[in-house]
């Protein structure tokens, strides 16, 4: 029996690690959800892969938040609260090196779908740039960040269309510019880039059938309505599960 101990250990490792992963998934889905939200094909992008029969949706956040014309979405105090060293002013000559040396950090970010923050940012961007921005139609816009998820839940309790997700963020110094005929002056500022959020969402059967029969994977330019709506239920570990799909 001792002869097969290491073989049994390898087999057991496969079973135990799979069991741990399945228990984690079950725990995530048990209990009350952290969010239930319906998103459209603008926020959940579907791409076909001929080598992969699984259907994946990619959660896309709006790029508008890091547009140079858009207002900063998080004040410097909020950035410092995430653990970043903001002691050097972004206009300082040492700023680029100082902020480049700071690695990305984990935090929780609250996103809102097409809310007032998104509208403000959209209004601040001039028309030609706005055309480019709408190529990425997502209206999922970051509005707040914290190291503590409960804090964010308390702040946005009862507010519909808010999604709190674990994210990877990075501090970015943005240099100042002076006023020209087409734009107002802007002082140097710190911005927070959302490097990563859990974005891949697997579509299980029977929902995946709806996606297989779609004639196109992206909304045509002139189409007034999205291709599909997907309802997501985020569990206690902020991992999503598809609960409904509707294709008009």
């Amino acid at each position: 029996m001792k002869k097969y101990a290491s073989l049994a250990a390898a087999g057991l490792l496969v079973l135990v690690s799979s069991a741990v992963t399945l228990i984690h998934a079950a725990r995530n889905r048990s209990g009350p959800p952290t969010a239930v939200i319906t998103l459209s094909s603008d926020e959940l992008v579907f791409t076909r892969d001929t080598d992969d029969s699984g259907i994946l949706l990619q959660l896309q956040i709006s790029h508008l938040y890091h547009d140079p014309y858009a207002p900063a979405w998080l004040p410097p105090a909020g950035i410092a609260a995430l653990g970043f060293d903001t002691s050097i002013h972004p206009d300082d000559t040492r700023a680029l090196d100082h902020y480049r040396r700071q690695c990305a950090r984990r935090a929780f970010v609250a996103f809102e779908v097409g809310g007032p923050a998104y509208q403000r940012a959209l209004a601040a961007v001039d028309e030609p740039r706005r055309q480019g921005i709408t190529a990425n139609r997502s209206r999922l816009f970051p509005v707040d960040a914290s190291l503590n998820a409960q804090q964010l839940h308390a702040r946005y309790a009862g507010r519909a269309g808010v999604l709190i997700l674990p994210a990877v963020v990075r501090v970015l110094p943005e240099t100042s510019w002076s006023a020209t005929a087409t734009r107002a002056a802007r002082p140097a500022r710190l911005n927070l880039a959302v490097i990563e959020v859990p974005s891949q969402i697997h579509v299980p059967l029977p929902f995946s059938q709806s996606f297989r029969v779609l004639p196109v994977t992206a909304r045509p330019e002139n189409s007034p309505q999205p291709l599909y709506h997907v309802t997501l239920r985020y569990g206690r570990f902020y991992e999503p599960q598809i609960t409904a799909v509707s294709v008009p």
């Binding site: 290491s6 998934a25 029969s53 699984g54 994946l56």
Partner: protein, 358 residues
């Protein structure tokens, strides 16, 4: 005597020594330096033939140069075959898994590595050279990576560094069970990555950015190097060199990257200062490892440290002279330094030759 042998690697080394002794005796006899009597010669020939035969029968080792060359080809073929079959199996799974229900996906993902494990054991029982077992062990690891990735994807689980630990442990178990050095090197790579990712995660950084913190790898590389100093490998006598080489490889790559760009260093000092410090540290540590390797007869350590020493030196010269020196002079100076190094190494080498020293 052969009963004392513990591993195939040791048996191979003993066979090599016997073959070398046989060749040397033949040469000495031809040069009329040492002439054995016919009885002695017959006894030696009988002993060497019997010993080689016994070793070959028990461990399936190479007893001729042609066999050795073919074995290398077999090892390369089995590694490439293992990787190709891994890719084929994973792509096959991905091509069809979307058409089945979640329970079936999960069961299939769990059964794949278990089936591959059974096939590895079957191959190992049937063949002592372990080419097929090595190939199947690689496939088992690939299947286990697929298992956790597939379950993670089905349930949209946020990735963590813990999977690296499970995969590394799995590869380590297979490496020790079947004596597979490639699996050991892969296991060490996975476990070092896990260590670095865990450290990154504990400091509040994204675990996937673990490669951006080279200092983690400096420490972990040294730990891997030191493992065989504390862990005696009686059965797997060919494993300590893998630990040493893998550890030093990680250590030097991390140190060279810090010497070239120290922007991600934990130290709060200026980038230029940290880069210079790591350059000096790298040169000194390479020199120290060369000396240690020579004393302990660790050929791999001497070779990899010599290469690292030259890289550190040339990087420094590049920083000093590339911008202001005409290119032809720069390369001429590099060539002159290389020649000086050859002379220096030859002198060092002659110190280890007892006749020359005498």
């Amino acid at each position: 005597m052969n009963g004392d042998l513990l591993s195939r690697a040791e048996a191979q080394r003993q066979a090599d020594r016997i073959r070398a002794l046989r060749d040397s005796l033949a040469q000495l006899q031809r040069d009329r330096i040492l002439i054995l009597t016919p009885d002695q010669r017959a006894a030696f020939d009988a002993w060497s033939a019997e010993t080689l035969q016994t070793l070959a029968a028990r461990f399936d080792i190479d007893t001729t140069d042609s066999q050795k060359r073919l074995s290398l080809g077999l090892r390369i073929a089995s590694t490439l075959g293992g990787l190709a079959l891994c890719a084929a199996l994973i792509l096959f799974f991905l091509r069809f898994w979307g058409y089945v229900d979640t329970p079936f996906q999960v069961v299939a993902a769990i059964c794949l590595p278990l089936a591959a494990l059974a096939a590895t054991e079957f191959a190992a029982l049937r063949e002592r050279t372990l080419y097929f077992a090595g190939l199947m062990a690689l496939i088992s690891l690939g299947c286990f990576i697929l298992t956790l990735s597939a379950i993670g994807r089905v349930f949209n689980i946020i990735s963590t560094e813990n999977a690296l630990f499970a995969w590394g442990l799995f590869a380590l178990l297979l490496a020790y069970r079947y004596g597979l050095r490639l699996l050991l090197a892969i296991a060490l790579g996975l476990l070092v990555s896990f260590g670095s990712a865990t450290l990154s995660g504990r400091f509040g950084y994204q675990w996937l950015d673990f490669s951006n913190r080279p200092e983690n790898f400096v420490v972990l590389g040294l730990i891997v190097f030191a493992i065989p100093l504390f862990l005696v490998h009686r059965r797997r006598s060919d494993f300590p060199p893998v630990y040493r080489l893998a550890g030093l490889f990680v250590f030097y790559i991390a140190t060279i990257s810090l010497a070239e760009w120290a922007g991600q260093s934990y130290f709060p000092a200026g980038v230029k200062f940290i880069e210079r410090a790591y350059e000096i540290f790298g040169l000194l540590s390479a020199g120290a490892f060369i000396a240690w390797g020579i004393r302990r007869h660790w050929d791999g350590v001497v070779n990899i440290s010599s290469a690292a020493f030259v890289i550190f030196l040339f990087c420094r010269l590049f920083h000093w002279w590339w911008d202001w020196m005409p290119r032809y002079i720069f390369f001429a100076v590099i060539g002159a330094i290389a020649i000086a190094l050859v002379f220096a190494f030859k002198r060092v080498r002659s110190h280890f030759n007892p006749e020359a020293a005498a």
